[in-house]
């Protein structure tokens, strides 16, 4: 059995930005044929970049994680070179269909009729304007599974509210719970934990619906509100409010019961940090042993779990003075050898050089025509019997047009050429796209 769980399952992917695409990446890793339907006449900001053709001087200022193009060059097709897109685009196919045109709608319907899942994460009105609803999809393919992952859900007063992950995190309370406790909440950077969880839950929901369909022959509609779904990550804060009426505030890097923090280490041409969690007396004793029991560890202020917490500001200074003499990897290894949870704050360079990730073969070398050859992060888990594989580097816009139009939708060579000449399909955004 060398097959993967979703071999033979076809997913029509209308996802944008991150929350949706991460979900379909997981389905693609599981063997589904995921076909992105994109539009060369419409620019979807954030999905493949901020603008289709950024000037070089603008591109130079983008942060590496968003739009750090290879060698800082936007290149001929910047939309195929964006880290924020290429992070979720492996194992997928891409075709371009203009859904606003009758011809596009007709082709889309044909694609849906031979597919199992339609997966998207747009504001509901965006889909409705295109005439794409569950009833419509079901009229084409009665057992279709329609996975809808809008920010705030398919119903309710905020159904069409626009949000990126970071805004959803604000509206459900994550942002206020992760600030530096001594700073204004504006002094922080964006995180996208909700996008991650929406992707995972959306993929899970799809699998559950596929299971149900295999048993009963019935498809269904899934309404996954990213905001509601992400509340799972804030369980302690919500339950404290539910049980005690208490509104929790941010602990920063500290912990409700342990001594925990992020400490500076020897700089190695860049700032270096280590995190440490001293959970209990056993960890404390081990920690002191690891440091060679310096005199300050005997201070009665640090004698028990409550006094260490009471005097953590002072304790942190001692810890930081020690960590500063070592590299972050040294601190991690010294403390882990004594059974104390400690970890280097690993930046991207560390990850690629990390012996653990290397030994486990986490990174995969992939060649993509517009980016060249690079190492990419790999799978989120390992199967013992049916290992996953990457058969396709981050997909380029319209890379599978011929396959989708000709093989799946039965468009003749002649018509395909005509559609291409008309600018209906292609591998480049129309010149007027911003």
């Amino acid at each position: 059995m060398a097959t993967l769980p979703l071999e033979g399952v076809r997913v029509v992917d209308l996802t944008v930005v991150w929350a949706g695409p991460f979900g379909t990446m997981l389905l693609a890793d599981l063997g589904a044929e995921v076909i992105r339907v994109e539009n060369i006449n419409v620019w979807q900001t954030y999905t493949r970049g901020l603008m289709a053709r950024p000037p070089k001087q603008v591109a130079a200022q983008y942060l590496p994680w968003t739009l750090g193009f290879p060698d800082r060059e936007p290149g001929r097709r910047p939309w195929n070179r964006a880290p924020l897109f290429n992070a979720h685009a492996r194992n997928k196919r891409s075709c371009t269909i203009d859904l606003r045109q009758p011809k596009g709608k007709e082709l889309f319907a044909k694609l849906v009729s031979i597919s199992d899942v339609v997966y998207e994460n747009n504001p509901p009105e965006t889909m409705e304007k295109l005439g794409i609803t569950y009833d419509y999809l079901r009229s084409i393919k009665p057992d279709i599974i329609y996975v809808q992952v809008p920010g705030y859900g398919a119903t309710g007063p905020y159904r069409n509210y626009r949000a990126l992950g970071v805004h959803l995190e604000g509206s459900i309370g994550h942002t206020l719970l992760r600030t530096y406790p001594d700073l204004d909440p504006s002094q922080t950077s964006a995180v996208y934990t909700g996008d991650y969880l929406a992707g995972a839950a959306g993929a899970f929901a799809t699998l559950v619906a596929i299971h149900h369909r295999r048993r009963t022959g019935k498809g269904q509609h899934i309404d996954l509100a990213q905001a509601e779904n992400a509340i799972a990550m804030l369980a302690q804060a919500y339950m404290d409010y539910a049980l005690n009426g208490r509104i929790q505030s941010s602990l920063g890097n500290r912990h409700p019961t342990a001594v925990q923090g992020c400490y500076p280490c020897k700089e190695e041409g860049r700032d270096r940090w280590v995190v440490i969690t001293i959970r209990d007396d056993r960890d404390w004793e081990a920690f002191c042993r690891a440091l060679g029991n310096p005199p300050w560890t005997q201070d009665p202020k640090f004698a028990d779990v409550t006094s260490r917490r009471r005097h953590q500001d002072e304790l942190d200074q001692h810890i930081a003075a020690w960590t500063s003499q070592h590299t972050n990897y040294e601190v991690m290894h010294i403390l882990q050898a004594h059974g104390v949870p400690a970890g280097a704050v690993m930046d991207a360079k560390d990850c690629y050089e990390d012996p653990h990730l290397r030994e486990r073969g986490f990174f995969h070398e992939l060649y993509q025509e517009d980016c060249g050859t690079h190492l990419y992060p790999g799978f989120l888990w390992r199967y013992s019997h049916t290992p996953m594989r990457i058969w396709r580097a981050p997909v380029r816009l319209g890379e599978d047009n011929e396959y989708v139009y000709k093989e799946l939708l039965g468009v003749s060579d002649e018509e395909y050429r005509r559609l291409e000449a008309e600018g209906f399909l292609g591998m480049d955004y129309a010149p007027e796209v911003p």
Partner: protein, 403 residues
């Protein structure tokens, strides 16, 4: 209506957060999840706060009550031969086993994948650990912050003048638990079709490293540019407005700039000074002087308005924006209430409370709260009787410390 996963039997040996969140997803959509807990102490999450009335009682942990809905609890001492025998009998009839012990622990008890798959070849066994079953860090100790530091994009989270900062609470472990549910359900689909189960090695570090919360893209960005993403503050998207700003009664998070610039201008009532063409030059969004000029108008505009009103005006103009809320705001919010997100729970020890409900709505096979989180060992007798043990047997098992 029927639940989707009805009839799927799950043995859950996991504790704390990631494993229980994985099995919560399975239980909430209908699987029969038997939570196997060490006698007397139970899942470690029972001893993690917050607690009802701040009373650290094993049935009063809010975290545990959230993570263990719809499960049954069986106490079983796996360090006894009889306990292990009972587990093997459970495995015979199970589809899925989820565990979060340190690598090698179950093998040491003769309960590793090799032994259990010999009993039941269809079994999907999901092992969730901080660092995976192999590799130099497999025996490392972990914690939420260690996981986020090593697996997640902590290095670039925060501001440049300060230390990197973690996400709230135990978000990373919840993420890894959700990924474990995807991996498990995928393997289950294959096992149910082909009769062959398998072992899943889920390293939480890798689940984060390959994840979309900036980590995967920061790794790729480094490959492409040779640059490490710094702690930058704000959205990381250079342009304005972008980030968190104060307003009359708190804070809002907003992103404009680039293609959304015209929407921002509309949201602000199209003030005269923004009509100058200089604002639409390609470099306008990265010009520090223009930024200052914009902020001199924008901040006073925000300070005159409360967060909910700014949210509404922004949304009317399709500007991406949100208030910084607290859970109390969300509990009171008409949107979440109209969607019926919160559910009322009656618990024998804690009493009545309202908790966050389903992660997603399924039209045919809805999420259901069939039972609140179980009391420690609440279903021990029931489950043992299903396996054929008699009342007398159960009495013996109790007195010998097996259950």
């Amino acid at each position: 209506m029927a639940t989707a996963l009805e009839g799927i039997k799950v043995i859950d040996l996991s504790q704390e957060i990631a494993g229980p969140f994985c099995t919560k997803l399975l239980a909430d959509y209908g699987a029969d999840v038997i939570k196997v807990e060490p006698p007397h102490v139970g899942d470690k999450a029972r001893h993690m706060g917050p607690f009802k009335d701040d009373d650290p009682h094993p049935e009063k942990s809010g975290l545990f009550l959230y993570l263990n809905t719809n499960k049954r609890s069986l106490t079983l001492n796996l360090e006894t031969a009889t306990g292990r025998q009972i587990l093997r009998r459970l495995v015979e009839g199970a589809d899925i086993l989820v565990e979060s012990y340190p690598p090698g622990y179950l093998d040491g008890l003769g309960l590793g994948y090799k032994e259990l798959s010999a009993i039941n070849p269809r079994l999907v066994m999901t092992s969730i650990t901080w660092f995976g079953q192999t590799g130099p860090y497999k025996d490392f100790q972990g914690s939420e912050i260690v996981l986020y530091a090593m697996g997640g994009e902590m290095y670039s989270t925060g501001i440049p003048e300060r230390e990197p900062i973690k996400t709230a609470l135990t978000a990373s472990q919840v993420q890894a638990g959700a990924i474990a549910a995807v991996a498990t359900m995928g393997a289950y689909l294959l096992a149910s079709a082909q009769g062959q189960g398998q072992h899943i090695d889920l390293s939480m570090m890798e689940a984060l490293c390959g994840g979309i919360d900036r980590r995967a893209s920061a790794l790729i960005g480094y490959q492409y540019t040779g640059e490490i993403t710094p702690r930058a503050g704000g959205m990381g998207v250079r342009g304005y407005p972008a980030g968190v700003y104060p307003c009359q009664d708190g804070y809002i998070e907003i992103v404009g700039g680039a293609a959304h610039w015209q929407r921002v201008v509309k949201m602000l009532g199209e003030p005269e000074f923004l009509k100058d063409p200089k604002w639409t030059q390609p470099t306008a969004q990265t010009d520090p002087q223009l930024y200052e000029e914009f902020m001199a108008f924008f901040i006073p505009w925000l300070m005159e308005r409360p967060k909910r009103e700014i949210w509404r005006i922004a949304q009317e103009n399709h500007v991406i924006c949100a208030p910084l809320n607290t859970p109390a705001d969300v509990y009171d919010d008409p949107h979440f209430n109209q969607r019926g997100f919160f559910v009322d729970v009656e618990h024998p020890v804690v009493g009545r409370f309202r908790m966050p409900g389903r992660p997603f709505i399924m039209s045919e096979t809805p999420w259901q709260l069939r039972r609140p989180a179980p009391l420690l060992g609440e279903h021990t007798e029931e489950i043992l009787k299903e396996l054929g043990y008699t009342q007398d047997d159960i009495l013996i098992l109790r007195q010998t410390g097996v259950i």
